[in-house]
């Protein structure tokens, strides 16, 4: 069984990637928009998964970092800068702000940290709304251009979907690298047992700040793509409810699982579309589904899978032990 597991996983991964590239080719404009939105939200949720899922630092401010990235991108690209430069600025800016927001986490944890980040979220929203000389205030910023890459325009939905998908691929690889590096192990140690981590030389201060900064930077990347995706931004999408949505994506998908954010973003972005036939009942159904899921499996959807696999491994191991024991008895 385990002999085939790795090639099977690779084949499945390639099939999903091929599907994401080929299937949307005959999607309509709206379908492509939804799928692009999924890619963008996956990036933001992956950032939060790093901060919350791996490093265990609660944040209710991820939506604000999407906003910071979106405004940086909108302001720069409407002034003629290319999108890659805007993404870079969005990364640097949200990394720096995320680093600073990490400082309270060195003193407060859990619910208290949630409140600190919630306050920051509100603050960011007020800046987006009130500093109209920079952000256009409640009128927002419109006519945000989509980029040209090597002479190819991406202003049609399909090419821009590929821009989002390509960015998601790059971020996914980077995050995969990060979590299997010693940093990923240190983040996990920070979440599981900070006291022991310190005694093993793990600089918990620095890793806490890094967890915040990197997670926030990914929020910035998502925002920098969100602006050219919608081509118009105002402060409303970046209020607290986006932070809560992103938190929900991470929790529902499975916090601390690599594929959790992809799944969580899929549910949060696509489920409303699938449940459209229920008309006004969509939100109620969604709420009930989330409640039931979290009662059944507090570790999210991937938590269910993880439990199932762990059980199977235990069963296989005890079967092996039984066989070994019976052989031993036969020999005697």
């Amino acid at each position: 069984m385990s002999f085939y597991a790795k090639p099977l996983k690779i084949a499945l991964g390639l099939a999903v990637i091929a599907g994401l590239i080929i299937v949307p080719m005959n999607f309509n404009r709206y379908g492509l928009f939804i799928l692009s939105q999924w890619a963008v939200m996956s990036i933001a949720a992956m950032g939060l998964n790093l901060t919350l899922g791996y490093a265990g630092q609660v944040s209710l401010a991820q939506g604000a970092f999407v906003g910071i990235g979106a405004y940086a991108s909108a302001i720069m690209t409407t002034h003629g800068w290319p999108l890659p430069a805007a993404i870079l600025v969005a990364i640097v800016l949200s990394f720096a702000v995320g680093w600073v927001l990490g400082y309270p986490a060195l003193r407060v944890q859990h619910h208290y940290l949630a409140f600190v980040t919630l306050a920051f979220s509100t603050l960011a929203f007020l800046v987006f709304r009130n500093e109209s000389w920079l952000t256009g205030g409640i009128y927002g910023i419109s006519n945000i251009p989509r980029p040209h890459f090597f002479g190819l325009a991406t202003n049609k939905p399909l090419p821009f979907y590929y821009v989002c998908l390509g960015s998601l691929a790059i971020v996914s690889l980077a995050v995969w690298w990060l979590i299997r590096s010693p940093w990923g192990r240190a983040f996990m140690a920070l979440r599981e047992n900070p006291l022991r981590a310190q005694s093993l030389g793990i600089d918990t201060r620095r890793y806490t700040l890094m967890a915040f900064a990197i997670g926030s930077a990914l929020g910035g990347v998502a925002g920098a793509l969100y602006a050219p995706l919608t081509q118009y931004i105002d402060p409303v999408p970046f209020n607290l409810s986006l932070s809560l949505d992103l938190l929900m994506m991470v929790i529902v998908g499975g916090a601390g699982f690599y594929f959790g954010p992809f799944l969580g973003a899929m549910i949060a972005v696509l489920l409303p579309e699938w449940l459209r036939f229920t008309e006004g009942y969509y939100l109620m159904l969604y709420a009930v589904a989330v409640m039931l899921l979290l009662i059944w499996s507090p570790t999210g959807i991937l938590g269910i899978l993880d439990r199932y696999l762990a059980e199977r491994r235990t069963r296989a191991a005890s079967a092996l032990r039984a066989v070994a024991k019976s052989r031993l008895e036969t020999v005697q």
Binding site: L178, R180, S181, P182, W183, R185, A186, M188, A189, E192, N193, L195, R196, Q198, S199, L200, G201, I202, D203, T204, R205, R206
Partner: protein
């Protein structure tokens, strides 16, 4: 023999309670110093003050003659001071090998190399050696949470040695460990002490374990040092008998 650790007049109070009330001692290079005393006499608080987990209310800690009072635990660990805790502190979801890699990784390279370099920080061989040394070979890939209590205790101790420390403070390593595994543990500690020239301070209630392992024993009572000396001397000390047996 020079002193690795010098502790001078360390005090720690919680409100009106003087948990540690002016303790001074030194630990000589290569020795195994036992630290015993009734429950609540301040042994663990003293450890936490030395290791920077608590800020002492007064006094000084010197490592190799340099003041290290008030350094953070991670900084002290980088200087070669390691510890185990009274309660088990392994990472249950990580495998035995990964626990050991985690325990050593911050002693390899710098922040940047730990990000872009190898995911095992080049420690797989060292971890395997440690696994072999503590006879945990058959469990190397098991999640640490699935091990028996005694095995986790061994892993916990092994983790303290991954960074190649000069000084290790062990807080009740024998607590809850069955006799045969205890013999293993003692054997391994003595081997590391001799081969790596690592210096130990061991808090322990198991008298037999302390008396046979340690070259010197310090006895604490009510936040103060009651006696210090060779195990056989301390055992005969009337003040020690008094503190242990009560009035």
């Amino acid at each position: 023999m020079s002193a690795v650790l010098e502790v001078t007049d360390i005090k720690k109070s919680f409100g009106g309670i003087h948990a540690v009330n002016g303790v001074s001692f030194d630990v000589r290079e290569g020795e195994i110093l036992g630290l015993i005393g009734p429950n609540g006499c301040g042994k663990s608080t003293l450890f936490n003050c030395i290791l920077g987990q608590l800020t002492p209310s007064g006094g000084e800690v010197k490592l190799d003659g340099k003041a290290v009072t008030g350094l953070r635990p991670a900084e002290l660990n980088k200087l070669g001071v390691s510890r185990t805790f009274q309660l088990l502190q392994v990472f249950p979801k990580l495998s035995v090998r990964e626990n050991l890699i985690l325990a050593g990784q911050e002693h390899q390279g710098n922040m940047a190399s730990r990000l872009v370099g190898r995911s095992d920080a080049g420690l797989t061989d060292a971890a395997n050696q440690m696994i072999g040394f503590f006879k945990l070979d058959h469990l190397a890939d098991e999640p640490a949470g699935g091990l028996s209590y005694g095995q986790q205790k061994l892993l916990d101790a092994a983790m303290a040695f991954m960074g190649g420390p000069r000084l290790v403070l062990l807080d009740e390593p024998a607590g809850g460990v069955n006799p045969s595994m205890l013999a293993d543990l003692k054997d391994r500690l003595v081997a590391i002490n001799r081969e790596k020239n690592a210096t130990f301070v061991v808090i322990e209630h198991n008298m037999e374990f302390v008396m046979s392992l340690c070259s010197r024993v310090m006895v604490m009572a009510e936040g103060k040092v009651l006696a210090m000396g060779r195990p056989d001397e301390v055992r005969k000390n009337p003040a020690v008998i008094e503190a242990y047996l009560g009035h």
